[in-house]
Amino acid sequence: MTALLDMDQLLDQMETGLRQVLEHRGVESPVLIGIRTGGVWLADVLSKRLDIEEPFGELDISFYRDDFSRIGLNPRVKPSSLPFDTEGRDIILIDDVIMSGRTIRAAMNEIFDYGRPASIILATLIDLGARELPIQPDVTGRKLALDAHQRVKLRGPDPLRIELQEAGQ
């Protein structure tokens, strides 16, 4: 399993995919936003690979989650930090794993509270399927189908590696 999840290969895939989407859409100066925590590590790596000099943004979606009425507030919330104006910008939104799509919905709501972007491209390292909302990544490192008892987690930041966990561990 770990052999299938070679990190460099996944990052190559994301880089190539992003270059294609950017070219296809004619986007010249995108900015990166990573969703904490894994997405931020990836934004760091990808900003270097894509030669984006503008510092990337970090998003903590705790205040935008849709499960507050079930689990309350995440006590580990940290401030989001977007060191640029999102108004009118082309944004590459990055997360490590996409599953239900709820995190991305929350992240997009948060981004719009900073200003109206021109466009958002979604890139994720791993797509686990099992979507609950009509949200699909434009670029993904790899699609993966897990058994019900398996979980996947990005560890980092240096080195970045993917851990496959059996439930209960």
């Binding site: 903590d60 935008y64 507050f68 079930r70 919330v77 940290k78 401030p79 108004e87």
Partner: protein, 337 residues
């Protein structure tokens, strides 16, 4: 009601230690106070966005229940609730139903029937928010916005946030609280918070007539002479002279008080050169503090106001979160039974 039931820290925490009411700092440990400060830090960032609003309390109703008027505290609570997307109802009780003879319990029952989720309570009687928290329907959070001479925990926490912003940490800090400690609800909360968070020394500087008898037992040193008390200070917190509460001749005159305990540039020069100056407002210029100091480079008085919104957002969302987590917990228990 047994003594144990009445203990505020059992009342204000869920069984796994989350906040569900915010009544007093008594019984809250350093980890929880630090969580409040950290959460508030995140809300400060929200206040700098073009849309200063997050959807956390969308669809919930917050009632500001002010039995005693306070424009600044009420408006920062109102703004905090609105920035959390809650619906806000401001009730000035002194001009409302209670003057028509309705009892406090009946007023509360009516407000609960409007499906309120949170009461922010200000009252001149110590313990009123505590009383309401004991009798309110489960699921409704109570936030103390100042009760009698007892506590003003959100004001103390916004002061802690302001200190941490400017000094980075509490270890090694020498902090003085100057003025009318006797009538101050916030001084008790501040002394408590500073001790829990690990400040090196808390000093109160005041004439004996404006100090409660038991003041040292709160965890502070007493200094009657301000000139001596200012030495080495990292933070000086001025208290407002609560003229409307002053009973009897506790002071010879305002001018005499200012000469002895007012903060001017000469006295501030005795403190550490980077000492910050705080005041909960509203300021009585020329009574507790000289304008040149209040508006000077060491003053962080306006930061305190900004931080007040963030702290209130933090406490409101944490208490509401504790209430929903607890309700969920009970539902799952019932499901298993």
């Amino acid at each position: 009601m047994t003594a144990n039931d009445a203990s505020p820290h059992h009342l204000q925490l869920t069984r796994d230690g989350q906040l569900r009411h915010f009544l007093t700092l008594d019984g809250l440990d350093r980890a929880l106070l630090t969580d409040i400060l950290d959460t508030a830090d995140s809300f400060i960032e929200v206040g700098e966005r073009s849309i200063k609003k997050v959807p956390l309390l969308r669809g919930r109703t917050v009632v500001n229940l002010f039995f005693e008027s306070s424009t600044r505290t009420r408006s920062t609570f109102e703004l905090a609730a609105k920035r959390l997307s809650a619906d806000v109802l401001n009730l000035d009780i002194s001009t409302s139903a209670t003057s028509k003879g309705e009892s406090l319990s009946d007023t509360l029952l009516n407000l609960e029937a409007m499906a309120s989720d949170m009461f922010v309570v200000r009252h001149s009687q110590s313990g009123a928010p505590h009383f309401i928290a004991e009798s309110v329907t489960p699921g409704v959070a109570i936030i103390n916005a100042g009760d009698g001479r007892h506590a003003h925990p959100t004001q103390a926490m916004l002061d802690m946030l302001t200190i941490r912003q400017h000094k980075g940490q509490f270890e090694g800090l020498k902090v003085a609280i100057v003025g009318d400690v006797l009538h101050s609800r916030v001084a008790r909360s501040q002394i408590r918070a500073l001790n829990v968070l690990g400040a090196e020394e808390v000093r109160v500087i005041a004439p004996g007539t404006l100090l409660p008898n038991d003041v040292e037992s709160l965890g502070c040193k007493v200094e009657y002479d301000m000139t001596r008390g200012m030495s080495d200070l990292d933070v000086v917190i001025m208290l407002r002279l609560q003229k409307e509460r002053m009973e009897g001749a506790l002071l010879p005159s305002e001018r005499e008080f200012y000469r002895l305990y007012g903060l001017n540039q000469e006295k501030l020069a005795l403190a550490h050169p980077e000492c910050i100056v705080m005041h909960p407002g509203p300021i009585n210029r020329g009574v507790e503090i000289e304008s040149a100091v209040a508006d000077g480079p060491q003053s962080v008085i306006l930061n305190q106001v900004t931080n007040g919104i963030a702290i209130r957002m933090a406490v409101m969302s944490m208490a509401m979160g504790g209430q929903v987590a607890e309700r969920q917990h009970k539902l799952s228990e019932r499901g298993q039974a």
